[in-house]
C-alpha cells in the first residue's frame, strides 16, 4: 500500500465532499434532526394517562380516592361521567385509556367492614401503556386500602402498625428513571450507523455509475488503497457527527455523562471504521447508488434501529432474532455508548464488547477489501 496514492484518493474524495454541499449539509443535519426527533418524541415514560372516573357513591371516602388519583402525576382525569355508557364512549374514541368505577355504597361498605369492589377497565389496544397504568392504579388503590386498614387498627387500639417488611430502593445511574437518559446515548449509536453506512455506500457506487471507476481501475492503484483513501474523509465527517451528537446530548438533553471521553472517542473510532467498511461493502456489491442506498437502509439502518436493543430489549426477542442481533456491530455499540454515558465504567468492564467490535470491524474491512476486485466483472 502506497501512502502517496492513499493520500491522493483522500484528497480527491475531500474535494467531492466539500463541493457536494447538499450531501455535506445533509450528513451534518441528519444527526441533529434525528436527535431532536427521537430525543424528544420517543419518550417511553408513561405518565398523565387519560382517565375517566365514574363515582356513583359520592361519599367522603370515594371523593378522597378520586382526589388522590386526580393529584397523581400518573393520571390525568379528563371527565367524571355520570353513567357507564358515557364513560365507555371516552374509551371507545380513544380519549381515555382507563375507566374507573366506584359503585354506590362504597363509603358505607368501608365503614361497615365490608369489602367494596372498585372497577378498573383498561384500553388494551395500547398494551404497554395500559399495563403500566394498571400497575399504577393497583398501587394507588393498595395504598388507599392500607390506610383505611391502618385507621381501623388505630381505632381498635393497636399501637405499632408499621408494615413488617419495608423496601429501601436506590436507582443507580439514572436516578430519575428518565427514558431520554438511555434513549439519547443509544440514539447516538444508531445515528452513527446510519450516517456511516449511508455516506460511504454512495461513494464507490457513484464511481461505477459515472464510469470513473473504469478509469481508476486501469491505473496501478490497489483496492485497499482506494478503500482506505476513501474512508479517511468520511471518518472525519463521522467524528464531526459524533461530536455534534455528544454535545447535543449533554447540553440540550442534559443526559448525565459519567464516563471517559477518551473511551467514547476510542470505541467510536473503531465503530466508524467498521460501519463505514460496511457501507463500502454495500457500495461494492450494489454498484448503483439506488441499490446501495436501499441496501444500506436494510442492512445498516433497520438492524441498528430495531435489533440493536435501542428500541426493543434484546432479552425479550425470540431466540433467532437475539442471535441475528448479535451479528450487527451496532448492537455492541449501542450498549457500549449507553454504558459509557450512564455507568461511567471503563475498559475493565467493556473489554469483551470492545474486542468483539474490533473483530467485527476488522472483518468488515477485510471483506470490503477482498470483495472489491479491480475488475469490471
Amino acid at each position: 500500500m502506497k501512502m502517496k496514492r492513499v493520500m491522493a484518493i483522500s484528497k480527491k474524495e475531500f474535494i467531492h465532499v466539500i463541493r457536494d454541499t447538499k450531501s455535506l449539509v445533509a450528513s451534518l443535519l441528519i444527526p441533529i434532526t434525528l436527535l431532536v426527533l427521537f430525543g424528544w418524541a420517543l419518550n417511553l415514560d408513561v405518565d398523565k394517562i387519560e382517565t375517566v372516573i365514574c363515582d356513583f357513591d359520592r361519599s367522603p371516602k370515594s371523593r378522597e380516592l378520586v382526589s388522590r388519583i386526580e393529584h397523581s402525576r400518573f393520571f390525568r382525569v379528563i371527565a367524571h361521567p355520570s353513567d357507564m355508557a358515557e364513560a365507555e364512549e371516552h374509551i371507545m374514541f380513544g380519549r381515555a385509556a382507563i375507566m374507573m368505577t366506584i359503585p354506590s355504597g362504597f363509603g358505607r361498605d368501608l365503614e361497615r367492614d365490608g369489602s367494596p369492589k372498585i372497577g378498573v377497565a383498561i384500553d388494551g389496544s395500547d398494551s404497554n401503556r395500559a399495563g403500566i397504568g394498571l400497575g399504577y392504579m393497583n398501587n394507588m388503590i393498595m395504598m388507599f386500602s392500607n390506610e383505611v386498614l391502618k385507621d381501623k387498627m388505630i381505632s381498635l387500639g393497636v399501637k405499632k402498625i408499621d408494615p413488617p417488611v419495608e423496601m429501601r430502593q436506590v436507582v443507580w445511574f439514572n436516578p430519575e428513571l428518565e427514558s431520554k437518559n438511555y434513549i439519547v446515548p443509544g440514539l447516538i449509536a444508531v445515528i452513527m450507523t446510519v450516517i456511516a453506512a449511508m455516506i460511504t455506500a454512495m461513494t464507490i457506487a457513484r464511481e461505477w455509475e459515472r464510469g470513473t471507476m473504469e478509469q481508476l481501475i486501469s491505473t496501478p492503484v490497489r483496492g485497499q488503497e482506494l478503500i482506505v483513501g476513501k474512508l479517511i474523509p468520511y471518518i472525519a465527517i463521522g467524528y464531526l457527527d459524533v461530536f455534534i451528537s455528544v454535545v447535543m446530548s449533554i447540553w440540550v438533553f442534559k443526559v448525565p455523562f459519567n464516563g471517559s471521553y477518551a473511551l467514547l472517542f476510542f470505541i467510536s473510532s473503531i465503530f466508524l471504521i467498521g460501519a463505514m467498511s460496511l457501507g463500502m461493502l454495500i457500495s461494492i456489491v450494489g454498484k448503483s447508488q439506488l441499490v446501495a442506498n436501499q441496501m444500506s437502509m436494510l442492512i445498516a439502518f433497520l438492524p441498528a434501529f430495531l435489533l440493536s436493543g435501542f428500541t426493543f430489549a434484546i432479552e425479550n426477542m425470540p431466540m433467532p432474532l437475539q442471535f441475528i442481533s448479535k451479528l450487527f456491530p451496532a448492537t455492541y455499540f449501542v450498549a457500549m455508548v449507553k454504558v459509557v454515558f450512564l455507568k461511567g465504567v471503563g475498559l475493565r468492564v467493556l473489554w469483551y464488547d470492545t474486542v468483539l467490535l474490533v473483530v467485527y470491524c476488522a472483518l468488515l474491512f477485510v471483506l470490503a477489501k477482498t470483495k472489491f476486485k479491480k475488475s469490471l466483472e
Binding site: 464510469g211 471507476m213 486501469s218 466483472e377
Partner: protein
Amino acid sequence: MEKEIAVSVRDLYKIFGKFHAVDGISFDVPKGSIFGFLGPNGAGKSTTIKMLCGLLTPTSGTGRVGGLDVSRESDAIKRRIGYMSQRFSLYDDLTVEENVVFFGSLYGLTGAHLSERVEYALRLADLLERRGDMTSTLPGGIKQRLALGCAVLHSPEFLFLDEPTSGVDPISRRNFWNIIHEFANSGITVFVTTHYMEEAEYCDYLVLIYKGKIVIQGTPYELKTAKDIHNIFAARTNSLAGLYSLLSSRGEFSEVNLFGDAIHFVSEMDGGRVKDAVASLAAGAGIDLESVEGILPSLEDIFVMAISRADAAGENGNGANGAKRQAVKKA
C-alpha cells in the same frame, strides 16, 4: 526486418454465460503502430480492449502486452499502459488541474516530475489557460483530449483508446488523430477502436471484428487490394434514381448503393462484361449512362462485404445489406 510485437493475442475468448462476446481471436500488434479495431456495436471491441488492459479476465486463450500476460500480470501491465474508456471518465466536479494531478499521483508521479507531466498533459489538451475550470464546463472535444492527457501522464508504452472520438466534432477529431500520430511516431503503440470509416484510413493495421470473431485483418492497402474484393464498380449517370432502382432489381448485382454522385455495386462478373451488361440494361430502360468502371473499394465497402460474407457463411445469413452497412456505420 520483422517489426517487434507489442501486443500479441492468441485464441482469446470471453464468454458471459452463453454469450460469446469474444469468440477466439488472434492477432499481433507491431510496436509503434496505430492498430485500428473496428466492428459494429456488440462485436466485442470493448471487451477485447478491456481484457488487454487487465480490466476483464479472459475466459481462455492468451493475451500479452509488452510480453506480460493479461490474466496473471495485469498489475504490471497497468503501470505500462494508458487507457481511455468509451465513456468520458474523469471527475466532473474536479477542476482540470485537480483531475490531472489526481491521475498523475495514482501513477506514482511525484514532485517536479509530476508538475512537468501535468504541464505536458495540459498543453496536450490545450487547457493551460483553463486549468482552474471545472471539468464539467468543458466541451466534448476538449474533454476527450483531457482524458487522453490523463492517460499518457506516466509516459506509457502502450495506449488503448476505446472509441476516443465518438461524439466529437470533425475538427476536434482531426486534431485528436494528429496527436495519436505523434504518439505513434515517438514509438508508442496505439490500439484504437473506432466506428468512423475515415478514421480506419489513418491506421497502420486494421482488424474487423464481428460477432466476436475476426472477419478480416491487414493494412488498409492490403485490404483494398485483396483479390476477392476487386469487383466493385461505380456507375455514373444523370438519372441516379432510375439506375439505382434498375440495378437493385437485378440479381446479378449486389450491394447497390448511392455514393455521392455515383452508384456503387458489386458483381461476380469481370469488368468488361459488367460494363456491357449495365450499358444494355440502361439503354433498354432509356437511361443515359455516362460511365461504368471498376474502382478501388473504400474500407467501408470492404467491411460491409466482409460482414455480408460472414453472415452468409453463418447460419443466420439473412440480414439485408443496408442494415449491415448501417451497423458498420454505427459501430
